[in-house]
C-alpha cells in the first residue's frame, strides 16, 4: 500500500508542477473561449495576452450539438463560442446569445461582406464569421478512373465497400438531398423520406459511417470515396497524392463558423476584444495556416489562397457559379429535427 501511495504522490507532484507551468498571474481579467478541438492556433493566445493583458482560458468541444447541450444545461460560463451557421440560428431563436457591441470590434470591417448577414443571422447582430468552407467529394484517382462531377458515385454499387459516409444525420441527409436536387434545409417530409430511402439503399454498399477517421482511411487507401471538408482535403492530399477533390455539380453544403457571445457571459468586453483580435488579418492568417480552413477576412483570404498551389486554389476558393448551388444550413423546426432523429435511428437499426 505504501508503494501505491508513493506512486500516487509522485504522480500528483508531476500534476502540480505541470498545472503551475500553465497558469500565469492574472492582471486584466480573463476570457473563457470554447471552441472545436484542433481549430485554432494556440500560440496566438500569448500574443493576445501581451497585447491586452487578458488571460485566455481555452477549452474545446467536438460538435455543435455538444456545445448546445453544455450551454443548455448551464452551470458554466463561456465568453466566446464558435458554433456553425445552423447552430447560431438555433441559439438566436432560443435567445441564448448576446448582441455584440460592434464599437468594440473595429476589425469587423475586415470581414468579407459575402459572409455577413447570412440567413442564420440575418441582422448580423450576434455573430462575427471565423472561417468558412464547403463539403466536397474526395476520391482516390487510382480506384475511381472515371471523371467525377456528381455525388452519384457515392451511390454506385461498383464501388461497394469503398465508400465512407458522414456519421451525422444532418450532413448525411444533406448529401442525399442535394443529389436528389432538393434544398438541404427542406422541411418537406416526402423529400426527406426520399433522401432517407436513398441512404437505406446506400447502406449496403457502404464501408462505414465515420467522422475524422476519414483522414486515415482515405490516406492509407482503406477507402476510396468520402465526403468531407475542403480544408481537410489539403492535409490528406499531402499524404496521399492520388486523392482528388471535386465540388459536385449538384451543389453542396457551404458552412460558416462564427464567433458569438453566449447569454450571461461574465466578461463581455473581453470577449469583444478577443473577437476583434481574431479578425486581425495577420492573426486570421496564422490561424488558417494551422487549421487549413479558409479565413473569413477579405485580405486574409486573398493572401491565404495566393500561397496555395494552382491546382489547390479552386478547392479552397470554388467557382462562384458552383457556390451559388450550395446551401448554408439553417436551423430546422422541432418536428423536422424529430423526423431526422427517427429516420436516422431507423437507418441504423
Amino acid at each position: 500500500m505504501k508503494k501505491i501511495i508513493a506512486l500516487l504522490l509522485a504522480l500528483s507532484m508531476i500534476a502540480v508542477l505541470s498545472a503551475c507551468g500553465g497558469s500565469k498571474t492574472e492582471s486584466k481579467g480573463e476570457v473563457n473561449v470554447y471552441n472545436w478541438g484542433e481549430y485554432i492556433d494556440e500560440d496566438i493566445f500569448d500574443d493576445f495576452e501581451k497585447q491586452t493583458g487578458i488571460k485566455v482560458n481555452y477549452s474545446t468541444y467536438e460538435s455543435n450539438e455538444t456545445l448546445y447541450s453544455i450551454l443548455k444545461t448551464g452551470g458554466s460560463s463561456y465568453d466566446v463560442i464558435i458554433p456553425s451557421d445552423y447552430m447560431i440560428s438555433r441559439l438566436i431563436s432560443e435567445d441564448m446569445l448576446e448582441k455584440i457591441n460592434f464599437d468594440n470590434v473595429p476589425n469587423f470591417s475586415l470581414i468579407d461582406p459575402a459572409y455577413k448577414n447570412l440567413e442564420y443571422d440575418p441582422s448580423g447582430e450576434y455573430s462575427v464569421p471565423y472561417t468558412w468552407g464547403t463539403v466536397g467529394l474526395i476520391y482516390n484517382g487510382d480506384v475511381v478512373q472515371e471523371d467525377v462531377t456528381s455525388w452519384s458515385i457515392m451511390f454506385d454499387p461498383q464501388y461497394a465497400g469503398q465508400i465512407l459516409m458522414f456519421d451525422n444525420s444532418r450532413d448525411a441527409m444533406g448529401i442525399a438531398l442535394k443529389y436528389l436536387g432538393y434544398n438541404q434545409n427542406t422541411t418537406d417530409e416526402a423529400q426527406l423520406r426520399e433522401a432517407f430511402d436513398l441512404l437505406v439503399q446506400q447502406k449496403s454498399i457502404l464501408q462505414a459511417y465515420v467522422m475524422d477517421q476519414i483522414f486515415d482511411k482515405m490516406e492509407s487507401g482503406e477507402a476510396a470515396i468520402a465526403p468531407y471538408y475542403a480544408g481537410d482535403y489539403l492535409v490528406m492530399v499531402e499524404n496521399n497524392p492520388s486523392l482528388k477533390y471535386v465540388l459536385p455539380e449538384e451543389g453542396s453544403n457551404l458552412f460558416v463558423d462564427a464567433m458569438c457571445i453566449p447569454k450571461g457571459a461574465e466578461n463581455k468586453e473581453n470577449a469583444e476584444a478577443f473577437i476583434n483580435f481574431m479578425c486581425d488579418t495577420d492573426i486570421a492568417l496564422a490561424n488558417s495556416e494551422v487549421t487549413g480552413y479558409a479565413p473569413a477576412g477579405t485580405e486574409a483570404m486573398k493572401i491565404f489562397s495566393e500561397d496555395l498551389d494552382e491546382d489547390l486554389y479552386p478547392v479552397i476558393n470554388p467557382d462562384k457559379d458552383v457556390l451559388a448551388n450550395c446551401d448554408v444550413f439553417t436551423n430546422l423546426p422541432q418536428e423536422t429535427l424529430d423526423l431526422y432523429d427517427s429516420l436516422w435511428v431507423d437507418l441504423k437499426s
Partner: protein
C-alpha cells in the same frame, strides 16, 4: 464508535450525489421540454427494441468471452509467487492508462483491411481477413477494454481461498478437477459475479467502440443515449427515459443472476 456506523458519512454522500441526481433523471424521463408530465418518452420505446436486443446480445457475448479468457488468467496469476502477483495485476491495469479512445483507434489500425494484421498476413502469404466494421470487431473492442474488470475481482477472490481447504480436499481423495469444480470454483463465484457486472454494464452502454470498430452502421444503446444528450437529436427527456429502461433491465438481470448464482452471499453485488 461501533463499526456499523462507519457507513453513515458515505450514506449521506450517496443521498446527495447518487440519489438526488437519479431522481432528477426520473423527473426528466417523465416530463417534456415544457416541463409537464408525460409518458410519451416511454410509449415509443418499442421502436428501439432492435437496438436494445443488439446491445444486450453483443454485451452478453463480450461478457461470456471475458469469463472464458479472464478466469484462467486470474487463476494462473494466483498461482504465481505473491510478490509477482502484484506486478502481474498492475500490468493488467496498465493499458487503461492509455486513453480509451486512443486504444480503440489503435485497434482500428490493427484490424483494417489495409491494417497491420492484414499486412502481416500478407507477408507470410496468407489471404487477408475482413475484420473491421463487423459485429465481431465490436465484441473484440468490448472484450479488450473491459477484460481487466473481469480478471481483477476473480483474482482477488481466488488469492484469498484458504490453502488448507485445498489440501484437505486433496487428503480426502479429490483429484485436481474435483478440487477445482467443488472447492475453488464455488468459492470464486462472488468474484465472477462482480466481474460480470463490471464488464456487462460498460459494454451495454458503450458508444465509442461501435462507432470506431463497427463502422457505425448499427446503433447500440450507448449511441442512442449519446444522440439524445450530446448528438443531433438533443432530447434529454427521451435520453433519460431510455437510460432508465436500460438501467432497470440491467438491474433485474443482475438481481436474478445473483439470486441464482450463489444465494445471499453475493447480495453485495446488488
Amino acid at each position: 464508535m461501533k463499526p456499523k456506523y462507519f457507513a453513515i458519512p458515505y450514506v449521506g454522500w450517496m443521498a446527495l450525489f447518487i440519489v438526488i441526481p437519479l431522481v432528477l433523471i426520473v423527473v426528466y424521463a417523465f416530463s417534456n421540454a415544457s416541463g409537464g408530465f408525460t409518458l410519451d418518452n416511454f410509449s415509443n420505446m418499442l421502436t428501439y427494441s432492435g437496438v436494445f436486443g443488439r446491445s444486450f446480445w453483443l454485451a452478453f457475448l463480450a461478457t461470456v468471452i471475458c469469463i472464458l479468457i479472464g478466469y484462467p488468467v486470474a487463476y494462473a496469476i494466483a498461482q504465481e509467487p505473491a510478490h509477482r502477483q502484484r506486478t502481474l495485476m498492475l500490468l493488467i491495469m496498465l493499458p487503461m492508462w492509455m486513453n480509451f479512445l486512443l486504444r480503440t483507434y489503435a485497434w482500428m489500425s490493427l484490424l483494417e483491411n489495409t491494417g497491420l494484421i492484414n499486412k502481416l498476413l500478407g507477408l507470410i502469404g496468407l489471404p487477408a481477413a475482413h475484420m473491421i466494421n463487423t459485429p465481431g470487431a465490436v465484441v473484440l473492442g468490448m472484450v479488450y477494454n473491459f477484460l481487466p474488470f473481469m480478471i481483477l475481482p476473480i483474482n482477488s477472490v481466488i488469492v484469498k481461498i484458504d490453502k488448507n481447504l485445498l489440501e484437505a480436499a486433496q487428503d480426502l481423495g479429490a483429484n485436481k478437477v474435483e478440487i477445482f469444480r467443488r472447492v475453488i470454483f464455488p468459492l470464486s463465484l462472488p468474484g465472477v459475479l462482480s466481474g460480470i457486472t463490471m464488464v456487462f454494464v460498460p459494454s451495454v452502454s458503450t458508444f465509442v467502440i461501435s462507432k470506431l470498430l463497427g463502422g457505425g452502421t448499427d446503433l447500440l444503446l450507448g449511441d442512442l443515449i449519446e444522440m439524445q444528450f450530446l448528438g443531433t437529436a438533443y432530447n434529454p427527456h427521451l435520453g433519460s427515459a431510455i437510460s432508465l429502461v436500460m438501467m432497470i433491465i440491467v438491474m433485474i438481470a443482475m438481481y436474478l443472476m445473483n439470486k441464482f448464482g450463489s444465494g445471499e452471499e453475493t447480495a453485495v453485488m446488488m
